[in-house]
């Protein structure tokens, strides 16, 4: 008996402090700011189809480097790969993940001064909530979440998140397969703060989600094809998805988008250079390249989201010509609800809610 206890205790002691991944606070990143200069090929880690390939190829030709784009399909997937030690040169985290990456000291500092095109960035992003003094990031796309629908199937909607539970679209409704967006819209619908972690409020939102689930045909992060091929009559979607859907559809006028009166999740994602990037100089140069108004406009026209860069407004206005709903301005960014990084208990609670709803 004694020996077994001793062994168990010894094992426990030995294991204590051991684990997988970081076990202690990361050392502060003492890296120098790197000037924008070619120092090797570029490795980008981004969402799929979230950057105009022509822009990339022009960069390659102009500087004589090779650019490789690897893809992730969700923010946690991106984090998982970063945590396991993968070294990318340029990543595209959403605002709340920038917050988290900064806390874990995983981003390289960026000096706006060395970027010749940085003057074109909207002032709102000089000191955003997620990155003090914008020391590590440069904004990329801005997006809102709303509801896209097929007017030829369900007519008009009522500008409310309740439209995700419409009787006439029962069995033809999709929700975004993203726990933040899903719980977020339920929170807004119930009048709570977008990022609430209060247990009773989360419980109510969970019930909303379960109610909405009865009307769903599926969860998807791919609204455009679902809307175009008719599986989805109502789809929880991002504003750029509607632009893409219209491009693919033969009758784009049937595809509509609304933001909802109970609240609009708005967000932005950023370009950032990880601390362990192999070629930060090229990455910095690429960021500068993307900030050029003409290049940015070309990007906007391609991927359908507005970018906060002066000179791209015309390109996006063209896409949003008859649909002010897909427009997003910095006023909306300032006043809209943004997803924040949740405290650890809150995150566990949100995960739990989402897992329970989906199970």
């Amino acid at each position: 008996m004694r020996r077994r206890e001793f062994l168990l205790g010894g094992a426990a002691l030995a294991l204590a402090g051991c684990g997988v991944g970081p076990q202690s606070a990361p050392k502060p990143v003492a890296v120098k700011v790197v000037p924008p200069k070619i120092d090797g090929d570029l490795l980008i880690f981004n969402w799929t189809e979230y950057m105009n390939p022509k822009v990339i190829r022009r960069f390659e030709k102009h500087y004589g480097v090779q650019v490789t784009v690897s893809n992730f399909d969700s923010m946690p997937a991106m984090m998982a790969k970063l945590r396991s030690g993968n070294r990318y040169d340029l990543i595209f985290p959403t605002a709340d993940y920038v917050n988290r990456l900064n806390r874990l000291a995983m981003l390289r500092p960026l000096d706006r001064g060395v970027l010749k095109n940085s003057g074109g960035i909207y002032d709102f992003f000089d000191d955003p909530w997620y990155d003090k003094d914008s020391a590590h990031t440069v904004p990329y796309g801005m997006y809102t979440t709303g509801i896209a629908w097929r007017a030829d199937k369900v007519g008009e909607l009522s500008e409310s998140w309740g439209d995700l539970a419409l009787d006439r679209a029962k069995g033809h409704t999709f929700m975004l397969d993203d726990f933040q967006e899903g719980i977020g819209q339920a929170n807004l619908f119930n009048g709570f703060d977008l990022n609430t972690t209060a247990p009773d409020e989360l419980e109510k939102s969970k019930q909303t989600l379960e109610h909405e689930k009865d009307f769903l045909r599926g969860y998807s992060t791919n609204p455009a094809p679902n809307l175009v091929n008719g599986s989805a009559w109502v789809h929880h979607a991002w504003n750029g998805d509607v632009v893409n859907a219209r491009n693919q559809s033969k009758q784009p006028e049937n595809l509509r988008f609304q933001t909802c009166k109970e609240g609009i999740p708005v967000g932005s994602d950023c370009m950032a250079i990880p601390a362990n990037a192999r070629h930060p100089g090229t990455a910095t140069l690429f960021i500068d390249w993307m900030l050029d108004p003409e290049t940015a406009s070309e990007n906007v026209s391609w991927f359908g989201y507005p970018m906060p860069i002066k000179g791209t407004e015309a390109a996006f206005a063209e896409l949003a010509a008859d649909d002010p709903a897909i427009q997003i301005t910095t006023e909306q960014l300032a006043n809209g609800s943004q997803f924040r990084e949740l405290p650890p208990d809150g995150k566990v609670a949100w995960d739990r809610v989402w897992t329970e709803v989906k199970a």
Binding site: V20, G21, L43, F45, W47, T48, E49, Y50, P53, Q66, T68, V69, S70, N71, F72, D73, K81, S84, G85, N86, R87, Y88, T221, N222, A224, P225, N229, N244, Q248
Partner: protein
């Protein structure tokens, strides 16, 4: 002697015909109909993939005209080309290493009666029946714990681990029907055990080894789940790229990629099936894969 040889024998046994009811299995129409339907089921998506890879429109629903634009897009995209090359590279290395490890394991297990052999038998069975997600998770946590950065190497290591079992099963099947007489004969003629293995056993085993290698190549080339969990930053193997594309934005280029992968795999198989014939063997790789051999 094969099952098909049964028919001529039946025809020459009229004395038993009286006792038997009409035998529908002599004209197995229903069977062939079922088989035909299954083939249609199996090939319908292939047809769709190949057809729509030549679609001139972006649609995956309506075919509008013949065009090579998706293939052009594929070959113009350096990252996709690199992914294809990476997938081929991974499959090739995996095939070589897994075949060697699996064959030696099969030899050891078939010919030895020790406890190690029994234990290895159990160990061998598990990767075969483990869902890939479990395999992916295990590989992922192993590399995370050892602090090994994910890369093409980690993908290869994971693929090899799960391919060894397939090789072992195929080769063991062949060994079981082979018997030890030829090795014993070689020993009688003065060969050392190692020489006997090298000069007698392995050549006799060759079709099975080739069939196993073919199987491993195709499984590795096509693998998604394992690669998904163990892929490093770049390059990502083709199936991982396809998955990201499917989650976020379908480009019909996927059909071009699928067709290309089909062509590559078919070429490898044709090579593997044809190679024994070219080298003068009587049997084909497919026959060995399914265990039927002419000894």
């Amino acid at each position: 002697m094969s099952v098909a040889a049964e028919r001529p024998v039946e025809a020459s046994a009229p004395r038993t015909a009286r006792r038997r009811a009409p035998r529908p299995h002599d004209r197995p129409r229903t069977l062939w109909v079922i088989t035909g339907i299954v083939y249609a089921f199996l090939f319908a998506p292939i047809f769709v993939v190949i057809l729509f890879s030549f679609n001139s429109a972006r649609s995956l629903q309506t075919f509008e005209g013949f065009s090579l634009r998706w293939y052009e897009e594929f070959f113009a995209d350096e990252t996709l080309r690199e992914s294809l090359f990476t997938s081929l590279q991974i499959a090739a290395i995996t095939t070589v290493v897994a075949t060697v490890l699996g064959t030696t394991l099969a030899l050891g297990m078939s010919r030895s009666r020790s406890r190690a052999s029994g234990f290895a038998g159990l160990l061998l069975l598990i990767p075969l029946v483990t869902p890939e997600i479990v395999a992916g998770v295990s590989a992922f946590v192993l590399f995370a714990q050892l602090g090994i950065a994910l890369s093409v190497t980690t993908i290869v290591l994971a693929h090899i681990t799960f391919s060894i079992s397939y090789v072992c099963v195929v080769v063991r099947g062949r060994l079981a029907s082979m018997g030890t007489q030829i090795e014993e004969a070689a020993l009688d003629l003065g060969a050392t055990p190692l020489q006997a293995v090298r000069l007698v056993t392995l050549p006799a085993l060759w079709p099975a080894i080739l069939a196993a290698a073919m199987l491993v190549f195709v499984l590795s080339f096509d693998d998604f789940v394992l690669s998904f969990f163990t892929t490093g930053e770049s390059p990502q193997p083709l199936p991982v790229r396809i998955y990201s594309a499917l989650r976020f934005g379908i480009s019909p280029t996927i059909n071009a990629i699928g067709t290309l992968m089909l062509v590559v795999s078919a070429a490898i198989i044709a090579l593997a099936i044809g190679l024994p014939r070219l080298l003068g063997r009587r049997e084909s790789g497919v026959a060995v894969l399914t265990g039927r051999s002419t000894g």
